[in-house]
């Protein structure tokens, strides 16, 4: 088992290096660079930059060198100094910008994931056990609607409802008085309150997906002979349900855990803009628009890393959950 984990971790390294290069290359692809978009902004403000000024700025930022050279410089700094470069937009090191948004992004993503599993798994089990009952139809209908509703629309609807019912659209993640306040119990409560809408909006469609997956898996498992065997042994229906079908149905869910983490990260951009959430989606969006290449590149790199790590985690979990894979290691 340990050997397997080490092997998987070693495999991650070339994958990440490859991804980092592709990311960097793609960000360079669109015509123009930060300097040209900056000068466009300046000229819109009435201040015209000369070609010499632009060249000087490029030289200062290292943008006049070939792509691979820029890449190596960037990578060298990351590996040797943990320096991810400089964000032109924010005018501070990328690492600071990332640090500013990463915490809340992770909070929102993890809470959303917890919400998804906590809601979807019990509903999936229920709809499978009570197949074709009124409850099954209700939740199945609801999950189809959930899958089909665009989340920015839902965000607007929920904001409207929250405004008409509570007099507060619950925009952002904090109320005004807490934005710059130090952490306290009240601030955490405030965050919780503001998390409700984003979590529902971001998590709804994948929750609906998960409900369908869980239901299908459970239906498969509920009809397996091992359930009949368990019943013939005299186990109660509840113990059977937990021990056999549910346990077996969780495997495919676990194996998708890796991707769902990154899809929550990336899928929330529009929602985050609509809800004015201080998380990475809008930051990333602006970085791409403004050709803020080091910031965009670092974010993409982080996300790629998260996906890879997520996949790694779900692979390890699956190996640990599935006796067939596990015993293979024991045999070696």
């Amino acid at each position: 088992m340990l050997q397997y984990i080490i092997k998987r971790i070693l495999l991650v390294i070339p994958v990440v290096i490859l991804i980092s290069f592709v990311v960097f290359y793609i960000i360079q692809l669109p015509p123009g660079d930060y300097v040209s978009s900056y000068s466009a902004k300046m000229s819109a403000a009435g201040d015209v930059m000369t070609q010499a000024e632009m060249d000087e700025m490029r030289a200062n930022l290292g943008l006049d060198r070939p792509v691979y050279e820029q890449y190596f410089v960037w990578m060298k700094k990351i590996i040797l100094h943990g320096d991810f470069g400089f964000s032109f937009n924010f005018n501070k090191p990328v690492i600071d910008v990332v640090g500013q948004y990463m915490g809340l992004t992770i909070v929102v993503s993890l809470v959303t994931m917890l919400f998804q599993y906590a809601v979807a798994i019990p509903i999936g089990i229920y709809t499978a056990v009570k197949q074709y009952s009124a409850g099954d139809y209700f939740f199945s209908g609801l999950s189809f609607i959930g899958m089909a509703t665009p989340n920015f629309l839902l965000a607007i609807i929920l904001m409207y409802l929250s405004y008409t019912w509570f007099g507060d659209p619950l925009l952002g993640l904090f109320s005004n008085e807490y934005v710059n306040a130090p952490w306290s119990m009240e601030k955490v409560f405030d965050l919780m309150k503001h998390l409700i809408i984003p979590v529902i909006v971001i998590g709804l469609s994948s929750t609906a997906d998960l409900v369908r997956i869980m239901r299908g898996q459970m239906l498969d498992e509920l009809n397996k002979p091992n359930v009949v065997t368990a019943r013939a042994k005299g186990l109660s229906e509840w113990s059977i349900l937990w021990k056999y079908p549910t346990r077996a149905a969780l495997n495919p869910i676990v194996s998708t855990l890796g991707w769902s983490l990154s899809s929550i990260f990336t899928g929330a951009t529009i929602t985050a803009i609509v809800l004015n959430l201080p998380i990475q989606g809008p930051v990333m969006y602006n970085a791409l628009l403004g050709q803020d290449m080091y910031l965009a590149g670092s974010w993409l790199l982080f996300m790629a890393l998260l996906t890879v790590v997520g996949t790694l985690i779900s692979d390890i979990l699956l190996a640990w959950l599935d006796p067939k894979i596990r015993t293979e290691f024991r045999g070696n």
């Binding site: 002979p225 013939a232 042994k233 005299g234 229906e237 021990k243």
Partner: protein, 347 residues
């Protein structure tokens, strides 16, 4: 009709007028339609018939583990000698998920299944799954349960039990799995073992071993066996009494020798003819029963075997339900050829 007078002993389990109906899109399917039989202590009753005749449903209804679409009526009366509370108890009257029937399942009446690969869950060790029944019915102590489980594994001829105990079903061979299955079923010393096609998924040499094992354990533990199979060879080897099922009904029931040497029902005769025999003339093709089994949906009162029967009497066999006729005390048949009702009605 006449009664089975010869047996004075009380049966361990008595199935009376068992009917199982399933609501289908195109009508009600009478999957099991008025089945009666008795199982006696220490004896083996064989339930034989082709696929879909209702033999598995019948055997599973004894411990109420059929799918909930099955509507079951009739009586299944259990007579336990060892436990007063379970004496003369109609198992069908118990709620199928209730405590009482669960206390009988696995402890008094245990069951083994056809496919030991899928009957075990791939997620847990064999030991875990064997211990489960012991932990429910015999002891709460895990150490003791493990000890019992290891003893049972040894009893069914699995060597190196300590290691085997912690292995998963996929690490067992087919025969080993069925042995483990038997040890699981017998771990609580049941009074009745229901074996639903226990050797169908195994190859012939393993099949013989498993049957031999079942017979030995029956002798040792004194339990009754209800053996469900489509294989007359197994019936000949294992059973004391045989019930032949066709289309949800028992068409003939007799001690095993009677069935093989003095079959009455045309279906039983057909089954016996379609069985390969050692020493038979080689060039002759095996007989088969012509036609196929009809679906028992909205059938008029008639003999279900009518369409395929060589000896059918038109105007009789296809117009009314066939009553049970006793050839002798222990030999009954459902066929108008042997019914005295014919002459009775002709008068």
């Amino acid at each position: 009709m006449t009664t089975q007078a010869a047996r004075t002993e009380q049966p361990l389990l008595s199935v009376q007028d068992l009917k199982i109906q399933i609501q289908m899109d195109n009508g009600v399917m009478h999957a099991v339609d008025g089945v009666d039989f008795d199982i006696y202590k220490g004896k083996t009753l064989g339930l034989v018939g082709e696929s879909g005749c209702g033999k598995s449903l019948t055997s599973r209804s004894i411990i109420s583990i059929n799918p909930k679409e099955c509507e079951t009526t009739g009586n299944i009366v259990y007579h336990s000698e060892s436990e007063k509370a379970l004496n003369n108890l109609n198992l069908l009257s118990l709620p199928p998920t209730g405590k009482k029937i669960r206390s009988i399942r696995g402890r008094k009446i245990a069951m083994i299944f056809q496919e030991p690969m899928t009957a075990f869950s791939p997620m847990y060790t064999i030991g875990n799954q064997i211990m489960e029944a012991i932990l429910i019915h015999r002891t709460k102590d895990k150490k003791e349960a493990k000890k019992i489980a290891l003893e049972m594994l040894a009893k069914v001829g699995i060597s190196d039990q300590e290691k085997r105990f912690d292995q998963y079903p996929h690490e067992f061979s087919g025969g080993m799995r069925q042995r483990a299955m038997i040890s699981m079923a017998l771990s609580c010393n049941p009074e009745l073992l229901i074996a639903d096609e226990p050797t169908t998924a195994l190859d012939v040499t393993i099949q013989a071993q498993v049957l031999e094992l079942m017979r030995e354990l029956q002798k040792e533990l004194g339990m009754a066996i209800l053996l469900v199979t489509h294989d007359l060879g197994i019936i000949a080897q294992m059973c004391d009494e045989v019930a032949v099922m066709y289309l949800g009904k028992i068409v003939e029931q007799a001690p095993v020798k009677e069935i093989f040497y003095n079959p009455k029902h045309p279906y039983t005769k057909g089954l016996l003819k379609s069985m390969p025999r050692l020493g038979g003339t080689k060039s002759k093709r095996l007989d088969s029963i012509e036609g196929s089994v009809p679906m028992p949906i909205d059938m008029p009162p008639m003999c279900g075997f009518y369409e395929r029967c060589k000896d059918r009497i038109e105007g009789v066999c296809n117009t009314k339900a066939v009553p049970k006729t006793y050839i002798s005390d222990q030999h009954s048949v459902r066929c108008f050829l042997y019914s005295d009702q014919l002459e009775g009605e002709a008068q």
